[in-house]
Symmetry: none
Subunit: 204 residues, 4 copies
DNA sequence: CATGAATGAGTATTCATTCAT
DNA sequence: AATGAATGAATACTCATTCAT
């Protein structure tokens, strides 16, 4: 028992340190230029141990992407608690951006895009679960606002895409081309402007 | 003289065939997986000749990206000729998408994103000249519509970004993760919906 | 006492299952491509236990080869019981081939040959005890036939080699280059022809 | 012209030195344990050049084996010139052994046997062209002796195998298990004894 | 005494770039 | 000016063996 739990603990701690190292490496260098040996070095394990935990570079990368899904998602609380649609949407936009910039999702997205040729499933999967998945949560979010009559009844699938597009154009798209891009000083104004446009059409 | 001009012509024809081959290769395989030897083969020159014209893979890639700028741009005619803002904006959106999907710009963008780690200048340059440059043309386009009173006076820098964001979210973003993504059947409806939202706020 | 004998029994049963697994693995994949981890898995023990019993891969292999000697040998009964030399020699040839093909000796020989560079002693040992050892038994076999006047008096060391050579050329040599080689349909005719040649010289 | 022939010369000289180095390496260490880097080093070329000439380790090995076929073969002259069958067969046996021991064929055969699992085609090919091919030449050789009435008319396919088997059993088989095995002092006596047995059955 | 996770040395192969002709 | 053979550095992955529990 003691032995088994000891091993599990050690193994899990190694697995965790590998995933951290791999996350950093993939985010920093993309899939192709990330080196397994370097990941092993950073994680302070041997390459063989690396391969015991993750059978291949692709598998390791997939695991990293998979794990990132857990950190994605639009908290729905604001939709039910906020007094106005503007307040709710502001909150959603900020949650979204915090994830992108805080959890390294921008860098991960660049890495995924880099490998659409080599590992196409990962890209398609991310499109479905990462991109569209989050859009679905925005839909749910908007549906709730409609229900609360803070928004007009309308096709929220369409409007969710429009809202996400306006936000991403200003803040996410630039990071794809410039990894050093930071959220600009006028971030709040830009968000507000997007929300205003959105509400001009869909506001109650 | 005759000899010199003959050589220049030959040289330029080789340069052209190299750029065509390189464009295809980079769009097809991304920067990293494009092979110089294959580009040389496709262009029917030796690798040494390739390197005479372009000192390195990065330089060749930069040249390809540079050349792509010429094919970008929002034709302004519609802004002055269209009867309604909706008509003008529909035309602009379609012009934009034709470039992205017709001239291989989506694939090129993926290639650029792949190399933001290795060759950051190319990415930053594309962001400035490719992405923002085109947005500037949208600004000009919108300014003209404002001047013609087809749109309300407003901050067109902001609105141009919003318009571009709504269009790109539906059609360009997916191609980043799935190179096989094609324009969907409901393309026109999506464009119209985006324009409707835009006009709810900025329509005259 | 009881404990000790229990342990010995367990240990010996493990040792036996290891040897079975290793025999199969070595015969199937040769020395180099046989994997210690796979042997452990097949034998249902840990790699550490494997190494407790056999200090190294070479040692394990040597043990397998050693064990194979027990299954080699030319039954002498036919030499005293057969009515004719032909009958006796036919019996001996078939006994020999049954061992080669039935007990996996062909595969084992391939494995040994594979490792003559790495573990030369095993090869030399097999040559002495496996190959020449069996030839000695053929010598004894022939001596008996001479004694019974079914064969002429002659140098049986020489004739044993000749007899073995004729049989092996047709049936064993091919398996060295083609593991899937099976005993051909005309096996008996080939054996008979070899015996005829043998008897032309050494028949009484 | 000068350029082209210069390149061909350089290229062929490199190819030759690679094949020499590879032959030595494969004969010394077998297929698996031969290292491409070491072959390159011995041949005084880079590994990349190695791969320009031979697309893979398997291909290189096949080329070595292929080249060895050229050095195999039973000279037919003795069959028509010798005064007696014994003289002719003695000559053939010695030619055969000189090839095996002089041209490193024994070592090459060990290498091929080592790889029957990994590269089965090479083994089967060698069986067909190397082993059986030479036996066919022995058949031709014997047919000529029959025609000259130095041997009785008989099935020379069968007798060729028997003759080869008797010779190989004493001299070739041992080298499979012991790379250091040398032709023994009594070589000539063993050959003569084999021929005597052969002639007892097939002599005119 | 048994375990199995961890090790690290070893190897085939690729590709941007250069150089002798 | 053009060639294409040659380079060498770089990298994913495997496996016999050991060691902490």
């Amino acid at each position: 028992m003691g032995l088994e739990s000891y091993r599990r603990r050690v193994s899990e701690s190694k697995r965790k340190s590998i995933m951290e190292a791999a996350g950093a490496e993939f985010q920093g260098n993309g899939f192709t230029h990330a080196a397994m040996a370097e990941i092993a070095r950073k994680a302070d394990v041997s390459t063989a141990t690396l391969y015991k935990h993750f059978g291949s570079k692709e598998e390791l990368f997939s695991s990293i992407v998979e794990a990132s899904y857990a950190s994605l998602g639009i908290p729905q609380a604001a939709a039910s608690e906020a007094k106005t649609a503007k307040e709710a949407l502001t909150s959603a936009a900020n949650d979204y951006l915090n994830q992108q910039f805080g959890a390294g999702i921008n860098a991960l997205m660049r890495a995924i895009i880099s490998e659409t040729s080599g590992v196409p499933e990962v890209g398609k999967d991310f499109l479905k679960r990462g991109v569209n998945g989050r859009n679905d949560e925005v839909v749910t979010f908007l549906d709730l606002l409609v229900k609360r009559k803070l928004l007009k009844p309308h096709d929220t699938k369409v409007s969710a895409t429009q809202f996400a597009g306006m936000i991403k154009e200003s803040f996410v798209w630039p990071t794809m081309f410039d990894p050093k891009f930071k959220l600009p000083a006028n971030k709040d104004a830009v968000i507000e402007a997007a929300i205003d446009t959105f509400l001009a059409r869909y506001g109650a």
